[in-house]
Amino acid sequence: MQDILSQYETVTEAHVKEWFNVGEVSDFPENSGACIKYKTKQIAVYNFSRTSKWYATQNLCPHKMEMVLSLGMIGDKDDIPKVACPMHKKNFSLEDGSNLAGEDLKIATYPVKIEDGNVYIGFAD
């Protein structure tokens, strides 16, 4: 179990080794999340079309270890973009992956860039 969680580590833009093309912008629903696969990882990608901002995190909710975050509703709390896990409504910041209720749960975040209508996610492996 620990293995599933341990393969997710936050990647910052400076440490990206590969920008992985995950599809066209139109493949991703607006103001919503969707899931992509990279090697053995499941990554949730969030499209905030109101502000044209994109975020990516692990799809695994660390609370009950379920692959569900891309199914959660997105939005903001005190201007911090967030996702609410559909299982038990744990809220995570999409900026730094922290739990917004201050619990000891954290998710890994990944950089996203849009070029020529394609969506790329940055990985370090």
Binding site: G23, D27, N31, K37, Q42, M65, L71, G72, M73, P86
Partner: protein, 839 residues
């Protein structure tokens, strides 16, 4: 950098780490914590919850990642065998040495196993760790295999843990028998009468109690078959769980010559230091004031003291008196005891209230002059515990007539308590996290917190056992009021309106979708509160299905299925009134078999198919729809089912055709979105087999028509529906229902079912009758027209979805791959399957 080694990764050892790293000046220290069990520290207090979910992860105090982030080195599966105090080293079972500057012993305790003949036999267990539980589960399953009658098991010990163990044994499907040496249950906390009340209550739910029994021997060859108390006194049991108290795990202290208590335990002073000032002991291994404290709260306090002492805050000491008050829910029964539960006459007087018809017992002990509360006991209803406990702890004044504390004041007004605001600021409200009343109130008055959520995030109050929650809620509300802050019920930070206001705004302004609503009346991006709420409003105004605005639907509505544990979905086709043809039953069976789904009959007289993967949903529904099924809306805040009994068609008592009418009504309101789920029932006579009075609306056939009941529900707060009108014909029933439901949909708050909506409705049921029956607001026709409009626009959303390639795109796990989620694992259960529990 100085090294702190903690031996024992239990609740108290973990708490030590948590409190340590939270301190400012902890940076110069490195903590290493050793655990003998394979997993990180977990919540032993709630061990019996393991049976409900088999989810060891949920019990964890913190995930492994937490230790890493905090720079705490966690080494599990490693027992410490030696302490070398002269060289300040410890040795592990793998013969590795670690040096320390400070050593903290948090080794806890082991179950006390009395020396009874035959105690080593197979089938005898102790109740302490998750591993113990797993062994018990496996054994219980083995001894039940192939047997039709219930297998008996015993629990030795009728204290707190023993009763918890009895619950666990019952959850395994065994018949529990509690065997206690003392003449009463929970001998340390309860007096004889309260113990009797508790006993009667737990016997009524199937737990047998045997008191005043000294076990002579365990019967059986290699495997337990029974227990013998006296020559002719024995019981047959096939399993025994021992829960007869604890003994400190103090062998390390003994072997390195620390001062020990005569009956075990490592002696500590009020700094939690042992006889070696660089070695500390906390929790159940520590002997303080010549006592071992087997409760979590004193253990946490000891952790706090040790942390402060090591970090040089020398004035934080353990108090001489330790509060042993406890409140818990045992097998569904509230039990609490605080202060001095027993009262010798020379110290004070007792006031006792007992009502066996309600399994209630309350006792308070007061000083001779009746001015001071010294302690007490509550069984059956402990809702007053927090307030009584605070009065006791802080010596608050009590009413002149002390009995008001338990029976309430005579006549008008409130009970015997003052306001929660009368408690002194220093009073500890949350004992698990040591949060005082002052901490809570000042987080609002000075700390910028604006609601309960903020206060919990800031103070951590209620995050332990949760018992203090009602009091925290009161304190938060009172503090907000004292600042003149109106507690307005706006739906969330994105909209400054309540649900009814938004409903009207969207309707009057003909708003087209959620994004426009946000542009016109809100701010930000929205959240998981306002999105589904506004989705429901749109559905109630225009009957749009969740297929139109997918992104604002709750996950269930987004995929038109109920998301279950492990991220699979369940499928429930509509079976109106519970009536189904054999052919359709066969189709459900065939579909379930083809997709390997777990099937179960629901409480709403239909069939739920569990374990479908996301990409299978459209395939399953295609087959169901082809066979004439439609969505059952089991995933929505919408009409679920109208339950029926067979009525006059078959039943010799039936007055009217309840099935036919139930089907008509269910089909009329199918797909109707509402503030919360809606359920109905139709019974063919007053025997009420359809349980119609437990529904949001219910009909019962009587001579001359139907009696209509409204605003009932089952669930967490069951409520009988109230008689609304009598002897109605079919048409009038539908007319009233249209008006009633539409009025509810228009005016109820988010996620408020009909019963609490009626509770809050000014004028109550009489007002509702005026609006619906007498049309006092002049809106009856409008309500009927609106409802008819919604009924006419009904469309099966699953049919809609599978016919549109665009809508189908969402039923795919990955955007960039056709792979499916490979993390789904199932295990067999009673010839079907269930999700594998993570551990």
């Amino acid at each position: 950098m100085k090294k702190v080694i903690v031996i024992g990764n239990g609740m108290v050892g973990y708490k030590f780490c948590e409190k340590f790293v939270a301190q400012e000046n902890s940076k110069d220290f490195k903590i290493t914590i050793f655990g003998e069990e394979p997993r990180p520290a977990y919540d032993r207090v709630h061990l019996s919850e393991f049976f409900d979910n088999q989810d060891a992860k949920a019990l964890e105090m913190a995930p492994r990642a937490w230790y890493e982030e905090q720079g705490v080195e966690l080494i599990t599966n490693e027992r410490i065998t030696d302490i070398h105090r002269s060289s300040k080293k410890i040795t592990t079972a793998k013969d590795v040495n670690y040096k320390y500057d400070y050593l903290v012993l948090a080794t806890g305790s082991v179950p006390f196993v009395p020396n009874i003949k035959g105690i080593e036999k197979k089938g005898v267990f102790v109740y302490r760790t998750i591993e113990d539980l797993e062994d018990m589960l496996a054994y219980a399953e083995a001894i039940q295999k192939g047997k039709t009658e219930t297998v008996k098991a015993a629990v030795l010990g009728g204290g707190l843990l023993g009763l918890e163990a009895a619950k666990a044994v019952m959850d395994m499907g065994l018949e529990p028998n509690v065997v206690e040496f003392a003449p009463k249950l929970m001998p340390r906390q309860l007096d004889k009468r309260s113990s009797k009340v508790l006993q009667e209550k737990i016997e009524s739910i199937g737990i047998n109690v045997h008191l005043s029994k000294a076990t002579n021997k365990i019967l059986g060859e290699d495997t337990i078959t029974g227990m013998e108390f006296g020559e002719y006194d024995k019981i047959d049991v096939e399993m025994l769980v021992i829960s007869a108290g604890i003994r400190p795990r103090d062998e390390l202290g003994k072997s390195c010559d620390l001062e020990m208590g005569t009956r075990g335990g490592i002696v500590v002073n009020n700094k939690m230091q042992t006889s070696d000032p660089e070695v500390y002991a906390i929790g159940e291994v520590a002997l303080y004031n010549n006592m071992i404290y087997g409760l979590v709260a004193p253990g946490y306090d000891m952790a706090e003291v040790a942390v402060n002492q090591i970090l040089g805050n020398n004035d934080v000491l353990m108090p001489a008196d330790i509060d042993m008050s406890t409140k818990l829910k045992l097998i569904g029964v509230d039990v609490a005891s605080y202060g001095e539960p027993f009262m010798p006459v020379e110290k004070g007087y007792s006031i006792v209230y007992e009502n066996k018809t309600k399994n209630l017992y309350k006792r308070i002990n007061v000083s001779h002059d009746g001015k001071e509360l010294l302690g007490g006991i509550l069984v059956g209803d402990a809702s007053d515990y927090n307030m009584l406990h605070q009065i006791y702890l802080n010596g608050l004044p009590i009413p002149e007539d002390a009995e008001e504390l338990i029976v309430g004041a005579r006549g008008e007004g409130e009970g015997g308590f003052g306001s929660v605001m009368d408690i002194p600021d220093a009073a500890q409200v949350c004992s698990c996290e040591s949060v005082t009343k002052g901490d809570i109130c000042s987080s609002i008055t000075e700390g910028g917190c604006n609601n309960l959520g903020d206060v919990i995030a800031k103070t951590k109050a209620t995050t332990g056992c949760g018992g203090c929650k009602p009091m925290v809620v009161d304190l938060v509300n009172e503090s907000l009021k004292s600042l003149g802050k109106e507690v307005k019920e706006t739906i969330c930070e994105h909209f400054d309106f309540n649900r009814q206001e938004l409903y009207d705004l969207i309707k009057i302004n003909k708003v087209k979708d959620y994004q426009e609503t946000l542009d016109l009346f809100g701010e930000g991006h929205g959240c998981e509160t306002c999105k589904p709420l506004i989705a429901s409003i749109f559905a109630s105004i225009t009957m749009e299905t969740p297929n139109r605005q997918v992104a604002i639907q709750d996950t269930n509505d987004r995929f038109l299925a109920n998301i279950q544990r492990n991220g699979t979905y369940s499928v429930v086709p509509r079976i109106a009134g519970g009536e189904i043809t054999p052919d359709k039953l066969i189709v459900i069976g065939q579909v379930a078999k083809k997709y390997d789904l777990y099937t179960k009959v629901t409480g709403g007289q239909r069939i739920d198919l569990f374990g479908a993967e996301l990409h299978q949903l459209p395939l399953i529904w295609k087959e169901l729809i082809d066979a004439g099924f439609e969505s059952g809306h089991a995933y929505g805040k919408s009409l679920r089912t109208v339950k029926s009994c067979v009525g006059s068609t078959w039943c010799r008592y039936g007055m009217h055709e309840s099935v036919t009418f139930a089907i008509d009504i269910e089909n009329r309101y199918r797909g109707l979105r509402s503030p919360h789920k809606l359920k109905g029932g139709v019974s063919g006579c007053i025997r009420e087999c359809a349980e119609a009075r437990g529904k949001d609306f219910g009909l019962i056939a009587v001579d001359g028509g139907w009696n209509l009941y409204v605003c009932g529900n089952g669930g967490a707060t069951p409520k009988h529906a109230v008689l609304f009108a009598e002897q109605l014909d079919d048409e009038t029933v539908v007319k009233y229902l249209d008006r009633f439901l539409m009025f509810y949909i228009r005016t109820a708050g988010p996620l408020v079912r009909t019963a609490p909506w009626l509770d809050k409705l000014d004028g109550g049921i009489e007002y509702l009758k005026q609006v619906v029956i007498e049309d006092s607001l002049g809106i009856a026709e409008e309500l009927e027209l609106e409802m008819q409009g919604l009924v006419n626009k009904y469309e099966c959303e699953w049919k809609q979805a599978i016919e549109s390639p665009e809508m189908m795109k969402r039923f795919k796990h990955f955007v960039n791959s056709d792979d499916t989620d490979d993390n789904l694992v199932f295990v067999p259960m009673r010839d079907q399957k269930m999700p594998k529990a993570w551990n």
